[in-house]
């Protein structure tokens, strides 16, 4: 694979050549209609972008020539320079020079721009409308111009989505063929199918790669946004961006956009204190906000940290009690993580006032739902007086996921690895009936455990989630999943391997049943249901409450 830098360079060249073509088109129009304001503005914009882009990537000659041309055009726009024949010639030459410089980037030869031409440019820029311009004749560069097409194609994301779906289908069939060829024992078929396996794998990664974009394309929008919110809130904020080069699936980033905006707004309005408050507390005047991204094996972690006042645990508890999410007694005993998980309850907000930017009744639950919908995880840590950190763990690709396969009552299920904490086998005697549920002690941590067969298949009226007698066998296989800072152990009948699966969304009319995130086909052709961990956890909580009331 090419290095990132090489990729940037190629994108720059392709873009710059496109600009170059557009410039040529526009300046030809302008020659015929010198008063066309719109064309002039467009040329101006193109040159300005070219200057900025080339400067950013370090092609100073291009940036320099663009700058000179930009100045010339700004003079023309302000009517300080006439669009005369002589000037036109110089400008055409200048644009040709740009084209030359851009194409030379690739061929690595350090072509010096023609000094005569540069001087001509300087003359028209500096002499203003002085009639006594002496322009030297410039040697024509490109008498034999090569026509070339851009190396970059724009593609609709829809087409890439379609491609990804097809790859998904192909992978399912590939696994099926692989398993059939193993059964048949035909050597030739085995060779072909293992070759097919490698090709599809390459294809899968290529398509996934084509969908990746830099996280910076989203991050870079935030400095301006933060500035505006901070100004409106009369706060001083320094925003640090880290890891803009991390790559992520474009659709995942799209879905994350609103969530991230919401979190950033919250951080500035509610998290960070005013400069005066901060100084009183002995903190630096300027609030620090850090937006960072990093790769973590198959996932991308996006973290938003502020050094503001942190969450008010007492206020959250009080609001939770007021909203009957928990009894006052039970609230006292909650751990900090458990308290923070109330933040993600629908409509939960402790904000007392509505400002322009926050507190419009849209809670963190919206953020949570967005992240759930792409199979990611949202975590929050907070320390009073020190600040709050939100961590989003996102898959790099929507369609293909690592998953754990298991069986309950002869049905195959999968759970995405992003939600699994650990897998453990415990003796039945190590499970304890506590109230209406079973509890297991895992290295000092008490974890609620539920028998999936009971949760999924027993008639709802007969369900007894805390009854050990419902378990089959002595040794219990437990998949510990985690959602919303809570852990839950799922007892399964048989545990299978870990494998990459292609999740197909549920087709209508079953798409509204949220217990399932989708389905996948196993190599054997069998259908495997993909359990949605958030919905399963919610379903369990509801059933548990129903039992308590019964």
């Amino acid at each position: 694979m090419k290095s990132r830098e090489q990729e940037y360079k190629e994108i720059f060249i392709a873009e710059a050549l496109e600009y170059f073509d557009a410039l040529n088109r526009h300046i030809s129009t302008l020659e015929k209609q010198p008063d066309d304001e719109q064309t002039l503005a467009e040329i101006f914009r193109l040159l300005h972008n070219m200057k900025a882009n080339s400067k950013a990537i370090g092609y100073l000659q291009i940036s320099d020539v663009s700058h000179k041309l930009e100045t010339a055009f700004s003079l023309i726009r302000n009517k300080e320079l006439a669009f005369s024949d002589e000037v036109v010639t110089v400008l055409f030459d200048g644009i040709d020079l740009l084209g030359e410089l851009i194409t030379n980037i690739d061929s690595n030869q350090e072509a010096e721009p023609d000094p005569v031409l540069l001087r001509n440019l300087d003359i028209i820029v500096e002499n203003l409308s002085d009639s006594a311009i002496e322009l030297a004749k410039v040697q024509k560069y490109n008498t034999s111009k090569n026509l070339s097409l851009s190396d970059l194609v724009y593609i609709q994301i829809k087409k890439l989505d379609h491609l990804m779906n097809l790859v998904g289908e192909l992978m399912i069939d590939r696994d099926r063929i692989l398993s059939i060829s193993k059964d048949m024992g035909n050597e030739e078929l085995k060779t072909v199918s293992s070759h097919l396996y490698r090709i599809t794998e390459d294809l899968q990664y290529s398509v996934m790669d084509a969908r990746l974009v830099n996280i910076g394309s989203l991050f870079n929008k935030f400095p301006r946004i933060v500035r505006d919110i901070a100004a409106a809130e009369k706060k001083e904020v320094d925003l640090a961006l880290i890891g803009q080069n991390i790559q992520i699936d474009r659709n995942i980033l799209q879905i994350m956009t609103d969530s991230l905006l919401h979190l950033v707004r919250n951080a500035v309005t509610h998290g960070l204190e005013t400069p005066a408050e901060r100084e009183k507390k002995g903190k630096p005047r300027i609030g620090q906000l850090t937006l960072s991204a990093k790769s973590d094996r198959e996932n991308v972690l996006i973290e938003l940290a502020d050094d503001g006042k942190g969450m008010d645990f007492k206020l959250i508890k009080r609001t939770a009690v007021e909203r009957h999410l928990v009894t006052a007694d039970a609230a006292e005993a909650l751990t900090e993580t458990e308290v923070l998980s109330f933040l993600f309850e629908p409509g939960f907000s402790t904000a007392k006032e509505v400002t322009e930017f926050s507190g419009r009744g849209v809670g963190l639950d919206v953020v949570k739902n967005a992240i759930d919908s792409i199979g990611g995880r949202l975590m929050v840590k907070s320390e009073k007086g020190k600040g709050t950190t939100f961590t989003m763990q996102l898959p790099t690709s929507i369609a293909v996921k690592g998953a754990l396969l298991f069986e309950v009552d002869e049905i195959f299920y999968a759970i995405p690895l992003i939600h699994t904490e650990q897998v453990i086998a415990l003796d039945k005697d190590e499970l304890h009936e506590v109230g209406d549920v079973m509890i297991a002690d895992l290295k000092g941590e008490a974890i609620t455990v539920v028998y999936l067969h009971e949760l999924l298949n027993t008639d709802e009226a007969e369900m007894r989630l805390g009854d050990k007698n419902r378990l089959k066998g002595q040794v219990q296989n437990i998949v510990v999943v985690s959602y919303n800072n809570r852990k839950l152990g799922l007892i399964v009948d048989k545990l299978y391997r870990q494998q990459d699966i292609v999740v197909k969304p549920m087709s209508k009319p079953l798409d509204r049943i949220d217990l399932y995130g989708g389905v996948t086909l196993l190599g054997t052709g069998k259908v495997c249901l993909v359990l949605d961990v958030p919905a399963t956890t919610r379903y369990f909580m509801n059933k548990r409450q129903a039992q308590e009331h019964a």
């Binding site: 289908e169 399912i172 069939d173 049905i411 195959f412 999924l456 298949n457 709802e460 197909k504 087709s507 209508k508 009319p509 079953l510 509204r512 049943i513 949220d514 217990l515 399932y516 389905v519 086909l521 052709g525 069998k526 259908v527 249901l529 919905a535 379903y539 509801n542």
Partner: protein, 192 residues
């Protein structure tokens, strides 16, 4: 693509169906100058409980022997599960359960484990409807379908879903509009 399927063609041995025109023959005739030909309708007929029901062939994508179906816990009782039909994973539903129709005893000699699935094509998805006996194909003149039957109060199926009542010889056939059933069949989210 031809909507007609193997199974749909088979029941020609049933004398009544053979007496009617096949669609191919019909279209040939239509091309020739003829006195106004009566509009025909092609139905797939199947049994729910003790009664005959039918769906217009345009709504049926294929008829197949019901493939292995994976049960999906915590879905409505009329959803039998999901099945893999040519790489598409579709929901399989049972209309007897859906409309509380009492199942009739199977005729002798029929294998209770062998059922048939009508794959119905809706706008953007497909769904399978499982029936116990092999569906039959039937061509009828449009006029044989009574659009506004008056007996409907006595049927479990909402009149919106019924397109009409067809009469052939001694048989009464209830013609269903599957698209209406599917659009109204909103499978609710899990009960809280």
């Amino acid at each position: 693509m031809a909507k007609q399927t193997e199974t749909a063609d088979k029941p020609a041995e049933n004398g009544r169906a053979a007496a009617t025109d096949t669609p191919a023959a019909e279209s040939k005739k239509a091309a020739e100058p003829q006195p106004v030909k009566e509009e025909m309708v092609h139905l797939i007929v199947f049994k729910l409980g003790a009664e005959y029901y039918a769906i217009k062939i345009e709504q049926v994508k294929e008829v197949t022997i019901t493939p292995a179906t994976t049960r999906m816990p915590r879905t409505p009782h009329f959803v039998k599960g999901v099945a893999n039909i040519r790489g598409d994973i579709i929901a399989i539903i049972d209309l007897e359960d859906r409309f509380n129709i009492r199942p009739a005893p199977l005729p002798d000699g029929l294998n209770p484990d062998l059922t048939y699935t009508l794959v119905i094509e809706a706008k953007d998805y497909s769904i399978g409807v499982v029936v116990k006996e092999m569906p039959q194909s039937l061509n009828l003149p449009m006029s044989k379908i009574d659009k506004a039957p008056s007996f409907l109060q006595d049927v479990n199926i909402s009149e919106n879903f019924i397109e009409g009542l067809a009469r052939t010889g001694d048989r009464l056939i209830i013609v269903l509009d599957m698209h209406k059933i599917l659009t109204q069949d909103e499978v609710r989210e899990l009960p809280g």
